[in-house]
Structures are given as structure tokens and as C-alpha cells.
């Protein structure tokens, strides 16, 4: 019987674990936190169907009850070694040692640290929050300014930390556009009287139903979309955020005061992803994510034999793609083990 070690218990790791275990493979799933789910734990509702994120999370967790899966919660791999037969041994932070025939890296992404865009004032201005903070507000059903008022005007800033040479991120995080649309709709549902803006560079509605959702956001929810990148924000006496953008489609600068500003933070390779890449000697793409062997035929493979990747450690992906990618990785690993 073969054994596979999966590093990272987010949606990709969980789904891959279940698929592999269902194929009769012994799985060790290592997760640094005390619960699985990864970034999904920070989300309230999912696009495009507005499913409760925790429902999906729960489903993924239930799958982990499979007898073939051994969970190692609160553990981090401190050392990974590969022997001549292509077997991996992974030492965990508690000193224990796991052995496996293949390694699946599912260490995912981290959200961009909005403080790095200093001019947006995150952490300095009272009414600047990130999209992750906003999800938390949704969960608590309370959208309030720092003074506790209902924000009458809210601005959602797209592409924070994505497509930005100034923070050395050239890549597109792909999901933020639709997340922005989703959050705008959620905001509208909770605050029917407020004015809600999205300041975007491009609207990239890549998935099924996304463009329709964008259209609905305009037509039904009266969300206002302004094409222009925030150049700087400042706080006024009332602790509102005064933003300056160029209304690029008019070719005129635009000033508007917001009661609440939401930064749609982009995705970067997590520290664990970068650490694993170093440890395993696999290549990184210029974006900092792990570079797959081939973008079409080998997107779960790396240059290292027996080391597989899945989910957002290789690129920003939505959940649909992540889960597909996990299944695809499981297929690749099964085939690899059978050929061994």
C-alpha cells in the first residue's frame, strides 16, 4: 500500500486527501493550524452562488473522516528528505517522522499585506479595511464605521497588491474582481440606502455566471463602477477617507469622500509555499508561486519527481478550480504510484 504526504489542509489539500484515500492510498495530511480549511475559514459567503463558506468547509472536513486519512493538525514540516528509492521522509515540528511515496504540496496563498500600500492608509486611517476584514464584518452582520455609524458611502478598491509594480506583484490575483462584486452586493443587501462604488482597473469576470453577476450588481443593486486606480487616500476630520482617482474613462481626476474604504487584497504565495519550494528545490514563477512543469500537461507536476502541487500554491485560483485541481493532482499521483 502506498502512502502520500500532503502538506497543507486547505480546500486543495483536503479534497486531494479524500480523493487519494478513496483510491485506497494511505494519506498523511499536515496542517499548521488547529483546524483544516485554510483561508476558507476567513470567508463568509462564496461567489457565484452565495453559498455559506462554512458549509463547503464542513463538507471538506467530513470527507477527512475517511479511515485512510491521518490528520496532523497544528504541525509544520520542519525537514523533508528524499531517499534513493524516491521515498520521502518528513519531520514534523513535534519531532515525529512521516514517510511517504509521494509528496503533495498544497500550501496555498496568503493575502497581500495592505499596509505595504502605505498611501492607502490601512492600519492608519480608521475606516480603511481589507476584503478579509469585511468578510468578518459580514459574519458578524455589522457594517459600521469606526464611530459606529452606518457608512453612507462605501468604496471598494480593486487590485490592491495585484498588478502593481510598486509592490513587485505583476500578476493578477484573478478572484478579487468577482469578490468585489460579491461583496458589493452583500453590502447593498445589508445597507440598502448606501452608495457603493467599485474602483477598478479592469473587470475580469472569468468564470461562469460572473459576468451575469456583474451585470446584476449594476442593474439590480445599483453598484457604481468607476474605472480608475486609487492613487492616494487621506483622512479628514470626520475620519472619512478622501480618495483621489482618475476617472480614466472621462480623463478627469475625481475626488470622493468615503465613509468606509475596502481594499480588495490580492493573493501572494504563502510563506509556507515559498518555504516548501526552497526546501524541495522546486522552481518559483516570477509571481512567487510555484512554477508547474508545464502549463497544460503538467500543472500538478514539478521538476522534482514525486513532488506534486495543487491549489493556490501554483497560482491564484477560485474554489471551483482549486477543487478540480486537487482531483487532478490525485489522478496524477495515483498514476505515478502505480507506475512505480
Amino acid at each position: 500500500m502506498h502512502t502520500v504526504i500532503i502538506i497543507g489542509g486547505g480546500p486543495a489539500g483536503c479534497e486531494a486527501a479524500y480523493q487519494l484515500a478513496s483510491d485506497g492510498i494511505q494519506v498523511h495530511l499536515i496542517e499548521k493550524n488547529n483546524e483544516t480549511g485554510g483561508n476558507l475559514n476567513n470567508w463568509y459567503q462564496l461567489f457565484p452562488d452565495r453559498k455559506n463558506a462554512q458549509d463547503l468547509n464542513k463538507r471538506l472536513q467530513e470527507q477527512l473522516n475517511h479511515p485512510g486519512i491521518t490528520l496532523h493538525l497544528g504541525m509544520e514540516p520542519s525537514r523533508v528528505e528524499k531517499d534513493g528509492q524516491g521515498r520521502f521522509s518528513v519531520s514534523l515540528s513535534d519531532g515525529s517522522l512521516l514517510e511517504g511515496d509521494a509528496l503533495l504540496v498544497a500550501t496555498g496563498f496568503k493575502t497581500f499585506d495592505a499596509k505595504r500600500k502605505e498611501e492607502y492608509g490601512y492600519g492608519i486611517y480608521e475606516n480603511v479595511v481589507t476584503s478579509v476584514d469585511l468578510e468578518n464584518m459580514f459574519r458578524n452582520h455589522a457594517i459600521r464605521t469606526s464611530k459606529g455609524d452606518v457608512p453612507r458611502r462605501i468604496g471598494i478598491i480593486h487590485c490592491v497588491g495585484s498588478r502593481d509594480e510598486k509592490v513587485c506583484n505583476f500578476h493578477c490575483s484573478k478572484l478579487c474582481c468577482i469578490t468585489g462584486v460579491k461583496q458589493a452586493i452583500e453590502l447593498r443587501e445589508m445597507l440598502p440606502e448606501s452608495e457603493i462604488f467599485c474602483f477598478y482597473m479592469d473587470m475580469r469576470m472569468f468564470g461562469p455566471g460572473y459576468e451575469e453577476m456583474y451585470r446584476e450588481a449594476q442593474e439590480k443593486y445599483n453598484i457604481k463602477f468607476i474605472r480608475g486606480r486609487l492613487s492616494e487616500a487621506a483622512e479628514n476630520r470626520e475620519h472619512q477617507v478622501q480618495v483621489k482617482v482618475e476617472d480614466t474613462l472621462l480623463g478627469r481626476p475625481l475626488r470622493v469622500t468615503l465613509d468606509l474604504m475596502v481594499l480588495l487584497v490580492g493573493m501572494e504565495a504563502s510563506n509556507e509555499t515559498q518555504g516548501m519550494a526552497r526546501e524541495l528545490g522546486v522552481k518559483l514563477a516570477p509571481s512567487g508561486f510555484i512554477l508547474p512543469l508545464d502549463p497544460h500537461y503538467g500543472n500538478n507536476l514539478t521538476g522534482e519527481k514525486g513532488v506534486f502541487i495543487t491549489g493556490c500554491c501554483s497560482a491564484p485560483m477560485n474554489l471551483t478550480d482549486t477543487l478540480n485541481d486537487a482531483r487532478s493532482a490525485a489522478v496524477c499521483i495515483t498514476r505515478y504510484l502505480n507506475m512505480k
Partner: protein, 111 residues
């Protein structure tokens, strides 16, 4: 005539906070499809009037959305209302009706 040889320049920046959005409210009520515009410019590209003059209906509707009504008052009458723009709009905005609605607002709110 001041002896300075210059005046304090007006800002080019759109001040959304203080601009008058009354026309917008009126037009959105009459033509809700306005909200659907994605600023593709299809309407303007084939515009009969736009071929002969600077008339740009995409921009005018954006100005309206920002509460910059001055330009609309100056430009709107250039439209010939031929309706070609309606046939082009990928979002189904009733562009011609929007123009009529703007005209109506201007007519009713003449100073």
C-alpha cells in the same frame, strides 16, 4: 482686469461630494438601463453626430453620473437622435431615451 496677470485656476478634478446629482436621479428613474453601461464606447464609435463633431454620448452619460452637468448642457443639442447607438449597445442601454430624458431635464430646469 486684475493687475496680477493671472487668475486662480479652476480645478479640473471632479468633486463628487459636492456635485449636483439631480439630473442623474431624474434620468435613472426614467431610464434605469443607464446603470448597465460598461463604458465600451460602441455608441460613440458609430455616432452620426460624433462623425462630424466632438459629441460623445458615452462621456456625457458619465459626466451625468458624476454630477458634472455643465458639459451636458453644452453638448447635448448636437445629437441628431437617429438612434443608431441603441442598436450597438451590448448592455441594452436605451441610449436614445437617456438623451431624451437628459433633454427633458434640461428643458424643465432651465435657469
Amino acid at each position: 482686469m486684475n493687475f496680477w496677470g493671472f487668475n486662480i485656476s479652476e480645478t479640473r478634478s471632479i468633486n463628487y461630494d459636492t456635485n449636483d446629482k439631480d439630473m442623474l436621479i431624474h434620468v435613472l428613474q426614467e431610464v434605469p438601463s443607464c446603470k448597465l453601461c460598461i463604458e465600451c464606447g460602441g455608441c460613440t464609435a458609430g455616432c452620426t453626430a460624433g462623425r462630424l463633431t466632438s459629441f460623445n454620448i458615452r462621456k456625457l452619460q458619465m459626466f451625468m453620473k458624476r454630477g458634472e452637468n455643465k458639459e451636458i448642457r453644452e453638448e447635448l443639442h448636437k445629437c441628431m437622435l437617429c438612434g443608431k447607438c441603441i442598436l450597438v449597445c451590448p448592455r441594452g442601454v436605451d441610449t436614445r431615451k437617456m438623451i431624451l430624458s437628459m433633454m427633458k431635464y434640461i428643458k424643465n430646469n432651465q435657469k
